[in-house]
């Protein structure tokens, strides 16, 4: 009986060690920034969900478009109603891989450069993207960071002539994720 208990305990440890390969967050930050001579538009989403598997580099990110907060209430309404059509396409997603995850040393502090490649889905349209990013080990957590450009037209988001001067052709997206070990 005693042995069985030890066996179960050990089994528990095995599972826990395996689970340590995955890191997650439910409160990742996604920011986008559009800058034109007429005006700057910025929005922040503080509810991005992410799971990263450091074993194989698989990573997934998902967020609700309606969670983007704008300075101006009307901009937020137009973002959801006219551009993202958030009722039809509630989420923006990324599913891919940190292609050079093998290079990342989880025992080393400091930011380490990585490349992330995968499918980015915005407004119901998916494109393969490859973007640079960093992973920083910090007190058992992983801080993931990336900045990349997105062209709304590529994702079927029309910008009418009337506001063309106000919205940048390319929009800068910044992702900051503080990933904790996933315990199952």
């Amino acid at each position: 009986m005693k042995k069985l208990i030890i066996a179960i305990t050990l089994l528990g440890f095995t599972v826990a060690t395996y689970a340590q390969d995955k890191y997650f967050t439910r409160s990742g930050q996604a920011t986008f920034f559009s800058s034109t001579p007429v005006e700057d538009i910025k929005a922040i989403n503080e509810g991005a969900v992410c799971v990263l598997d450091v074993n194989n580099g698989n990573v997934e990110v998902s967020m609700l478009n309606k969670s983007f907060q704008f300075k101006k209430a009307l901009m937020q309404e137009h973002f959801n109603e006219n551009y993202m059509e958030s009722n039809t396409y509630p989420k923006s997603k990324f599913k891919g891989q940190v292609v050079d995850i093998d290079k990342v040393d989880l025992d080393k502090d400091g930011a380490q450069n990585v490349t992330v490649k995968g499918d980015l889905t915005i407004h119901g349209e998916t494109h393969t993207v490859e973007v640079p990013g960093t992973i920083e080990v910090n007190d058992g957590n992983l801080m993931a960071h990336t900045v990349f450009m997105v062209t709304p037209e590529d994702y079927g988001i029309e910008i009418p002539g009337m506001v063309r001067e106000n919205i940048a052709e390319e929009i800068e997206v910044t992702i900051d994720l503080n990933l904790e070990p996933l315990k199952q």
Partner: protein, 308 residues
């Protein structure tokens, strides 16, 4: 000895099964790793932008001005089309209301205005009591209540008699209940009550009840067709008054909403267009008009991220 060997077999089995379970869950082809985080918390999805503006044409819509947002409104009605060429079909005349609306919170807005007609000042409070939503919380309709007061500041018609300031006041109360049925279709009902402190004759009712109906049909992302109609029972309506019928377009351009419309109402406030309407559509008693709304964010709600 035999017992010991069984134990070893058991150990290996347990360890292997443990390993195989984790390796299976580690593959996850096709499925989302995000499922590991468990069921998503259901979110409440509130219906937004049931109308492009806080007014349909003359009436208040289901929408409120956002928290901290100032809406500067210019409502303009030309004269009636049946005034003929001499008045260039009404374009020579103008009735306007200048208004300022402000969102104290996302559900409570206040506004003031000044109308040409009877040199009227008005103020209102509008509160959203229920918000249409789906998801974690389900609510089929949006319900708002509107309370308005207006003061006519014309010179006294009979300065010789004893006049009371209270004679200038009128009130209008509305419940606005409606639903955004689809992205393109919104309908609302507006049971209304108007109280006038002073009425022209002893036969006129002080309190008038009417039922309004309004809606919008979106014809593109930035253009919508709006309509509204009020029915007041002839027995209680003032002599010669007509029911208000209006139809128009909303055109949205960034921070502005332009509303262009045809209406048989000269007044732009509830007390007027519900009870003191005289235009008849069949006789060309129609005004061409427009509303312009321009919003300014003047206060940043604290619940927004600091970095914004």
């Amino acid at each position: 000895m035999k017992q010991k060997s069984w134990l070893i077999v058991g150990w290996i089995t347990i360890l292997l099964s443990g390993a195989s379970i984790t390796s299976v869950s580690g593959q996850e082809d096709g499925d989302s790793m995000l499922d590991l985080l468990g069921e998503e918390e259901p979110v409440t999805n509130y219906a937004t932008a049931a109308f492009k503006s806080t007014r349909i044409i003359n009436s208040h819509s289901l929408e409120n001005t956002g928290h901290g947002v100032l809406d500067v409104r210019i409502s303009h009605r030309f004269g009636m089309l049946n005034t003929g060429y001499y008045e260039i079909f009404g374009l020579d005349q103008a009735m306007i209301r200048l208004g300022l609306d402000y969102g104290l919170t996302d559900w409570l807005m206040v506004g003031v205005g000044r109308s040409t007609y009877e040199k009227t000042y008005d103020g209102f409070v509008k509160a959203k009591i229920l918000r249409q939503s789906s998801g974690a919380k389900t609510m089929p309709v949006t319900l708002a209540v509107l309370s308005t007061m207006s003061i006519n500041t014309l010179k006294w018609a009979n300065p010789e008699r004893e006049n009371f300031a209270s004679s200038r006041y009128a009130y209008a109360f509305q419940a606005i209940v409606g639903r955004k049925f689809t992205e393109g279709l919104t309908l609302q009902l507006m049971p209304s009550m108007v109280h006038r402190n002073l009425v022209p004759t002893a036969d006129d009712a002080h309190d008038i009840f009417a039922l309004g109906v309004g809606g919008r049909v979106k014809i593109s992302k930035r253009v919508a067709v709006n309509f509204e109609y009020y029915y007041g029972h002839p027995d209680q309506m003032p002599e010669g008054s007509t029911n208000s019928v209006s139809i128009g377009f909303d055109i949205e351009t960034g921070g502005h909403v332009f509303q262009l419309h045809f209406t048989n109402s000269t007044h732009i406030i509830e007390k007027g267009f519900i009870t003191e309407n005289t235009g008849k559509w069949e006789d060309g008693g129609i005004h061409f008009g427009f509303n312009i709304s321009r919003v300014f964010t003047i206060h940043q709600p604290k619940d927004k991220p600091d970095e914004l």
